[in-house]
Structure formats: structure tokens, C-alpha cells
Subunit: 231 residues, 2 copies
Amino acid sequence: MRERTIAFLIFPEITPLDLVGPLQVLKALEGSSDLRTVTVGERIEPIETDLPFRIVPERTLDDVPEPYGIVVPGGLIGPFHAMASDRIMGWLGRAAAKASFVSSVCTGSLVLAALGLLEGKKATTHWSFLPHLARFGATPVKGRWVEDGRVITAAGVSAGIDMALALGARLTNEASAKAAQLILEYEPEPPLGPIAWEGSETLVQGMGAVVAQRLPGILGNKPELLAKFAP
Amino acid sequence: MRERTIAFLIFPEITPLDLVGPLQVLKALEGSSDLRTVTVGERIEPIETDLPFRIVPERTLDDVPEPYGIVVPGGLIGPFHAMASDRIMGWLGRAAAKASFVSSVCTGSLVLAALGLLEGKKATTHWSFLPHLARFGATPVKGRWVEDGRVITAAGVSAGIDMALALGARLTNEASAKAAQLILEYEPEPPLGPIAWEGSETLVQGMGAVVAQRLPGILGNKPELLAKFAP
């Protein structure tokens, strides 16, 4: 049986929950389907994250040239490292052209946008970066996840779990996806209730300051992209 | 200002979401508090997980002898690696004796149980291992997370996020914890509804077979513990 490989892209300073949420869901489907998950990076060596640990991808980009599907995680700074890398952007552009689905979590959608993959499409991202999507010709939609053809984008960080359950059900069947949900005991009880959106303006200012400080050093080689993220 | 260090323990074959969920929550509180998150392992080198990537902890156990709080992740096989390691169990026993809180996600509670830390206490774990807690003198409770004094145990995998938000609010304040929730855009919408518990018996059989096959090779050095997990 031919396997359907789903490649999770890793680059410096990702937000690990963006990666691990959907990966843990789709990995749980391997036993009952032909899906196979893999992580890919430029090199098989430790890569910094925005948490106090490093991640070592399983394969190189060249090892997995034609995945069935792609998942791109985000982070406050991580996506700019991806955009700055011609090897990553080259692989993603070629792989996305042939893939049956291309998906992102959080600001991973900005990497897809930078490649032109969201042009004319509805898409979402972390709430704080929603306005940026329009600068790349996408129609920003506030939703837990947004599907437009073969492109599926999830909202911020934790939304990747919800997206992956929906995606997993579509790639296999609902019973298998519900078994994955059972394995992960995913029946959330957010202890503090719904999100307190009134804190968002302060948070955006703080995050914007970090991005403004670090971006020129990371994306200086791509002035046209740098301009899209200028404050 | 003295920092309060929260040490996340890493050992082979953990379920990364057990670790990353609460770590991403508590890391987001660093900016507004004296909390500092760190990951610790036997060695600063790549460690296998149950996903297709390895994790490199930031520090060794010896680097962080007296953390303010401890978080122990789980996994189907991971906890048995922890129990088999005298270095890990020695560190955890000494650190837990002085810590202000000791917490676990999923089957991480079995590691606490093996150290006698749950004796006479109410505790929870992944639903599939709840009966095992009683063998260590704990009172198993089905709940998203369970607090008994300074011991806080979370249910399976994804429950670590809920536990960490509640814990984070207690360690700092509700406004800070709600800011972390906003950063992680944590307002879940499980696309397939509640958990389908009718699938649990089949799943337990499959998981039990894996544990029965691997356990003797991992925990053969601790026959008294091995017996507690015999089928």
C-alpha cells in the first residue's frame, strides 16, 4: 500500500505547540490508516524553538521532496527565519505545488502567504497577524480554521489541534479521528472561560516591538518581504 | 528578585504534547512574573519522543537541583523509562521533597506514584491508566486535573493545557493567565464533539499489548514496579 506522507516543516524559533498539536493528532491516525507523519528541516540537528528546548527533525527537506500533505507551524519570529531561507522556501514552493493539501498553524500562514499560496484565497492566522494576510492578496477570515480548496489555515497556536482533528477525519474517517481524540483525551475545559480579548491591544504592542527589533536582522536579505511586515 | 524556576522533566519516549501544552502556557507567563521555565534531562542531547522528532533538554538534572515546581509529562512507554532510571528517580525524589508544587500530565502521574508521592492522595492520569493509581495507594479521580495539597495531576495529553492555565493563575494572577490564554488563542472548538468513550475498550487492549511487549525490556531492573504494571 502506498503511504500518504504528511511533512511537518521545522525551522528556527517555531512555537512548538503549533507543531506538536496537529502532529500528535495525525500521528495517532497512523495505526488505522496509510498516513505517515514526518518532520523535515534544513539539517538533522538541534533547532532552537521559542520554548526552553531544541527540536531535531527526523529528515532533511531533500529526503521528502513530494509529501502528500504539508503542515507549516508558526511563532512570533519563526516564520521570518523560514522566509529568509531560500532552501526552505524553495522546497515549500515545489512541494506545495504537488501536494494534496497545504496547511498552516498560527503565523505559519504568513510563510504560505509569502510564497503567493494564499493569493485570492480565504485564510486565517494568529489573531494578531490577521491584517497582514490582506497584504499578500488573501481574504483574512477569523475562524478556528479556514479551508479554501486544498489550503487549510488554522488560527493561533492551540487551534492546530482542532484543525488536525477535522483534517484527520477528512483524510481517514470520522471513527478514526474520534479514536485519536480519545487517545489525546481531548475534551477541553478552559479553566478561565473564554478568551479576554480586551487585553489584545497591549499584547499586540509588545509583540510588535519584538518583531520590529528582530526582523531587520533576520529578513534583511528580502527587502520586499521586510516591507510587508514593517510596523 | 528571586526567580521561581519550574522544571519540566524530559525522558525517552514522552508524548510531546504532555510537555509542550503546559510549557507553552507557563512560558507565556514569564514576561509578567518571576516564573522561569526550564527543561531538564539526564544529558543535554537528543532524546527520542513518541513523535517523529527528538528533543534536546536545556539543562541537566544536576543543573536544577531545587526547582520551585516540577512538571512530569507522560506517554505510553515514556514513564517506564523514567522509573527505570535511578538518576531520574533520585533527582525527582529529592526535588519533589522541597518543591512548592509537583505536577504531572497524563501517565506522568505513574512516575510520581512509583516514588510514593501519591500515597493517600487523590490523583488522576490518562483515562486508560486510572485503575493503576490505586495500586500505589492513591485515590483515582476522573477529572480534567486534580489538586491535592501541593500535588496536581492532569488527565490525558491535552489536559495539561487546562491544568497549566489553572496553575498559572494560582502562581501569578488571573489577568496574567488570561493573557497567556490570549497568546495561545485557546478557545477550543473540538470539531467532532465530545469524546466517543465507546471506543475505549478496544484501545486499551491495543495499548496493553504494546506495554506488555516492551515493559520487561525497560523495567526489568525493578521487578517490584514491573509487577504493578503486569497485565
